[in-house]
């Protein structure tokens, strides 16, 4: 087999090369199946490595099924009992048991290839990854092994405290193939989901509308949260009437319990008298408007600046509002509050109806976001 592989390499035949490696892997796997006398086969997550023959993209594609198999719980290697890794593993399982349980069948049937991730490991792995890069940022000379050894106990303690609080900050993630994420938070007092299937459906529909109307956008995270949960403290009485919020890095948030079900601002849209830029005749309209409005804020952060105090995101947006003649245009009463709210309202109207002033289109065009700038449009 190695000879086959070498011959194929010399002929620069990737197909034969890949076939040869596949045969070798198959033979290797099969050898572990004999009589039960050999140790159980341990899944190798990345059998294909960079070797100067295959491109990075080809390697990623070839490794994908192996990584998927290695990620299955039964194939994961088990940490030694009593070790820190075992403690984190136990906490990961505890998180998996505490995240809201969603209707996976319903979600998998939604348009857009959505699937539920609820095993807890993606949340914990993200924590470990961020904490390691934080340590390396503070202490650049730390080796990867050292950074793991130092951050693992910190993460373990943080997870211990998090679970001891029975916190409301836990969620189940739903992801699609484009990298978009819907986070469904747990109820404050139990593990039930804040969102109904209806809410999840409207959230995914909002993301689909955005994707079909806006070009070149980065992955979006939309969270469905509870009324008493994660609003920034210090925001005063606004907390009790909040319908949504957004911040850089955190994505958009929707509070379904605050979406108006009764006193809806329906009828004809008029920028001078309408509260919002899109008529809202029912709960779905209100929910989707809030979701798209919040994504508008996220887009604003992504394309004009993430931090209005450090990289002048709001100043950049306001400057472009002047440059393209959007400043002073009426979009809705809600949009009069600030340039940020005007943008979110105009963005929501553009996504929901396709309507926008030529000046607002020019603004979107300047960042490559206009529908007509989509590849193949």
């Amino acid at each position: 087999l190695p000879a086959d592989s070498d011959a194929a390499t010399r002929e620069s035949s990737k197909k034969e090369y890949i076939d040869a490696i596949d045969k070798m892997l198959e033979s290797h796997r099969a050898s572990f199946d004999s009589n039960g006398t050999m140790r159980a086969y341990k899944f190798e997550a990345i059998p294909y490595r960079e070797d100067g023959i295959l491109s990075k993209a080809e390697i990623a594609k070839l490794n994908a099924p192996y990584q998927a198999a290695a990620n299955k719980p039964e194939n994961r290697s088990k940490p030694a009992p009593g070790s820190l890794s075992a403690r984190v593993d136990k906490l990961t399982k505890s998180i998996a048991a505490s995240v809201p349980k969603l209707d996976e069948n319903f979600i998998s049937n939604l348009p857009g290839n959505w699937r539920v991730i609820s095993d807890g490991s993606s949340l914990v792995n993200r924590l470990l990854s961020v904490s390691k890069s934080s340590l390396l940022g503070i202490e650049p000379s730390s080796s990867p092994g050292e950074s793991k050894a130092r951050t693992l106990p910190i993460v373990a303690r943080a997870l211990d405290r998090f679970m001891a609080q029975r916190t409301k900050g836990l969620y189940t993630e739903i992801v699609n193939g484009r990298g978009d994420v819907i986070r469904v938070y747990a109820q404050a007092r139990n593990n039930g989901a804040i969102a109904t299937n209806e809410d999840i459906k409207y959230t995914s529909a909002s993301l689909d509308k955005i994707r079909s109307q806006v070009s070149a956008i980065k992955p979006i995270t939309l969270s469905i949260v509870g009324p008493s949960s994660l609003l920034p403290s210090g925001s005063g009485s606004g907390n009790s009437r909040a319908m949504g919020y957004a911040f850089p890095g955190g994505g958009g948030h929707i509070l379904p319990n605050r979406i108006d079900r009764n006193n809806l601002s329906g009828g004809e849209y008029n920028p001078a008298t309408s509260w919002h830029s899109v008529p809202q005749n029912n709960y779905q309209d209100g929910f989707e408007h809030t979701a798209i409005h919040e994504v508008g804020h996220v887009m604003m952060y992504q394309y004009w600046g993430t931090d209005s105090w450090l990289d002048n995101g709001m100043s950049n947006l306001e400057s472009d509002y002047r440059k393209y003649g959007v400043l002073g245009q009426k979009i809705s009463l809600y949009g009069q509050k600030s340039v940020a709210e005007h943008f979110a309202e105009a963005f929501a109207r553009y996504v929901s109806t396709g309507d926008a002033t030529s000046e607002f289109r020019d603004l979107l065009r300047s960042k490559g976001l206009l529908k007509s700038q989509k590849k193949g449009a």
């Binding site: 949340l123 993200r126 924590l127 961020v130 904490s131 934080s134 340590l135 940022g137 503070i138 202490e139 650049p140 000379s141 951050t151 910190i154 993460v155 943080a158 997870l159 405290r161 998090f162 609080q165 916190t167 409301k168 900050g169 836990l170 969620y171 969270s223 994660l230 920034p232 403290s233 210090g234 925001s235 005063g236 606004g238 907390n239 009437r241 909040a242 319908m243 949504g244 919020y245 957004a246 911040f247 850089p248 890095g249 955190g250 605050r258 108006d260 809030t290 409005h293 919040e294 804020h297 931090d307 209005s308 105090w309 450090l310 809600y334 509050k337 600030s338 940020a340 709210e341 979110a344």
Partner: protein, 65 residues
């Protein structure tokens, strides 16, 4: 700590949309209590970064003592 400085954003602006209008403000992770950071562990990536920073700072203080 080698450079002794935080390597993450600590001032996070936010916008809240309410039934009455919009509010804006800034979350300041440097002044946030440990408990609130823990609550936001999975919400704000910078929360764990701040926890790591505080633990390292504590280690350094203990070393000095």
């Amino acid at each position: 700590m080698k450079n002794g400085k935080r390597n993450h954003e600590t001032k996070i602006p936010y916008l809240i949309d309410t039934q009455d209008g919009a509010l804006e403000g800034v979350l300041d992770l440097e002044t946030m209590s440990d408990d609130e950071l823990i609550t936001r562990l999975f919400e704000i990536p910078e929360a764990i970064s701040e926890i790591v920073y505080r633990e390292l700072a504590q280690e350094l203080d203990n070393t000095k003592e």
